[in-house]
């Protein structure tokens, strides 16, 4: 059994990481035609440094993802707290309405947003992309923070109040420190949802202003170059480093 389990685990890891590893290896291969054996070179990374379009798109992606993270993280945490603390009419319905946007295909959401933004005069561009990404990320944030809140003992807030803490002090010293791991996880989700987003960004981009996934797609259509492997490898390594750092720092679910 143990051996079978180990083989199964091995297959899962291969399935997950093999394509990524191949891509990473090719980004260091001098040959444009993926000739083997790999001849090590940093040529594509040097090319990338000169590709202003990809670099601009990358900066756009990071800026949009950071703004999305801050807005969706704040709004979503506040919403999760409201769901946790208050009973109000239509609360159950609102909670149920959080899930469909996750299941609806992005192509449909994107079309709907494009129509709606056109019709309301919001239009396209960076601001429209931020709006769209916030709307997409919000349900994830609420769900992740709410999951953390499930383990929260309301007596903690009551205790802080009886000890003389003002409502603001209760949130600052008791509620937020408890929620922090959940909020950080939710923020990562929001960042990832925005940074990975292709369809909606594609619909809402205007010429000259696009995001990394949109720019990569455009370059592939024009003809694939290993520069794409290079930038993808940079993205993968930096996002993995970020995730590992955060999980090590917070030991999710491990603090009581």
């Amino acid at each position: 059994m143990a051996a079978a389990g180990r083989i199964y685990l091995g297959l899962v890891l291969v399935f997950l990481y093999a394509p990524i590893l191949v891509m990473a290896a090719m980004s260091f291969n001098d040959s444009q035609l993926y000739a083997l054996p790999v001849k090590w070179s940093l040529r594509w990374y040097a090319d990338l440094a000169g590709n202003q379009r990809l670099i601009d798109a990358g900066i756009n992606s990071i800026v949009i993802a950071m703004i999305t993270t801050v807005i969706a993280g704040t709004l979503g945490t506040a919403a999760a707290l409201a769901f946790f603390r208050y009973e109000f009419r239509g609360k159950r319905l609102l909670q149920i309405l959080l899930f469909p946007p996750i299941a609806i295909p992005w192509l449909i959401t994107g079309t709907a947003m494009l129509l709606f933004f056109f019709w309301t005069g919001i239009g396209r561009g960076l601001h429209a992309m931020v709006l769209g990404h916030v709307a997409l990320a919000l349900p994830y944030v609420i769900i992740v923070v709410a999951a953390r809140l499930k383990a929260f003992d309301p007596d903690l807030e009551a205790a802080a109040r009886s000890l003389g803490a003002s409502p603001w002090q209760v949130v600052r010293y008791v509620t937020l420190p408890f929620l922090a791991p959940g909020v950080v996880a939710a923020a990562l989700f929001a960042f990832a949802v925005s940074f990975d987003q292709f369809v909606i960004s594609y619909f809402l981009a205007v010429p000259g202003v696009s995001t990394l996934p949109v720019e990569i797609y455009t370059s592939i259509r024009k003809g694939f170059t290993p520069e794409i492997n290079a930038i993808s490898t940079i993205v993968i390594v930096s996002s993995m480093a970020l995730l590992i750092g955060v999980t090590r720092f917070y030991r999710f679910g491990g603090d009581r």
């Binding site: 009551a158 003389g164 010293y173 420190p177």
Partner: protein, 352 residues
């Protein structure tokens, strides 16, 4: 410190009447136990005094000041929660210091007062531990220190000992009583455990269905319960029903039972209660004077519990119970007809 007074307080949750016109005076420096089954409203009353809920009717005063509209953080009331509610992200020192930190006291004073509080609950040296590194008993002491360190006017305890195992509980009862006396703080605590209420309190109030049905000193309540509910909720009681006949009660099944308690009008139906430990099981009929009651019964089972014996008896269709000290003599065996004997002064008349 301060007296606390609750006057005509009612609290509704939707259509459920959690408290119904409750009035209680809590003496300055007293230890008052609120006792009742779950759903009796005892915890609601505590939360109203703490300021987590507001009454729909009635007044609450602390030291003469009306507080029923003040939020919890303005009431200056220390509370210890059933779950202890220690802040998991803070160590013992910061937990205890919390009430002083939010009041922005100078750091040196905080250090002195936290030190004193931890000394009082005998937890000196554990300042840097986190709550999850403490035993149940230690957590409880931290919760207590945190609730008293800012010198509140009143201390509220919600089921303070229910999370501890039995051996620890007895020790903590004595400890809690010592600390309460030492600082002389008005203390109100909630429990469903009658023994805990009797042991700890100077006064006990029994709540049922949102109403205060009886209050008094623990001995008063035990010796003179005014209802079958209080008689059976506080300790154990054998209940017998009958009709008042002269200065005694004619039981439905015939025999006459004497009492020294005042009786309602002749012909009224009453219920009497007799504590199981006040009855003697005797194999043969006594030549009893007028001061004693005697009733025939049959032993169904004698349960041996080391220092005591419990006799389960039946009389007609009625089950009765008697506690006897283990005096070394042979217990009466099952199926033996016996006489149950008790003093007239041990017949408690409870309402019909």
């Amino acid at each position: 410190m301060a007296t606390v007074s609750v006057k005509g307080v009612s609290k509704l949750f939707g259509t459920f009447r959690a408290l119904d016109d409750v009035s209680i005076e809590f003496d300055d420096g007293g230890f008052y136990g609120l006792l009742g089954p779950s759903g009796s409203g005892k915890t609601t009353l505590l939360r109203l005094i703490a300021g987590f809920e507001f009454p729909d009717m009635g007044a609450i005063t602390i030291g003469g000041e009306a507080v029923e509209r003040l939020p919890a953080e303005k009431r200056d009331v220390g509370m210890m929660f059933q779950s202890y509610a220690l802040f998991p992200n803070m160590n013992v020192f910061d937990n205890v210091a919390f009430g002083l930190t939010v009041r922005k006291l100078p750091r040196s004073e905080i250090r002195t007062r936290v030190g004193e509080a931890l000394e009082l609950v005998e937890l000196g040296g554990l300042e840097t531990r986190r709550p999850h590194q403490l035993s149940g008993g230690q957590r409880q002491r931290v919760a207590l220190a945190r609730a008293i360190v800012f010198r509140p006017r009143v201390l509220l305890l919600d089921e303070p000992l229910s999370a501890l195992d039995k051996a620890l509980r007895t020790g903590m009862q004595i400890e809690l009583k010592r600390i309460q006396r030492e600082i002389g703080i008005t203390t109100i605590f909630v429990t469903h455990d009658q023994e805990e209420a009797l042991t700890l309190s100077d006064r006990v109030g029994v709540l049922r269905d949102g109403r205060l049905i009886q209050e008094g000193a623990p001995r008063d309540l035990y010796e003179r319960p005014k209802s079958a509910f209080v008689a059976t909720f506080l300790g154990d009681a054998n209940l017998l029903e009958g009709i008042v006949e002269g200065a005694a009660i004619r039981l439905d099944e015939g025999p006459l039972v004497r009492t020294t308690a005042p009786l309602p009008a002749i012909g009224s139906r009453v219920t009497v209660a007799v504590r199981p430990e006040r009855i003697t099981v005797s194999p043969e009929a006594q030549t009893s004077g007028g001061e004693h009651n005697e009733l025939g019964a049959r032993v169904e089972e004698a349960i041996f519990a080391g220092n005591s014996l419990t006799y389960m008896l039946s009389r007609g269709g009625r089950k009765l119970r008697v506690f006897a000290q283990n005096t070394g003599s042979e217990p009466v065996s099952a199926d033996t007809p016996v006489r149950l004997v008790w003093a007239a002064s041990d017949t408690i008349v409870v309402e019909a």
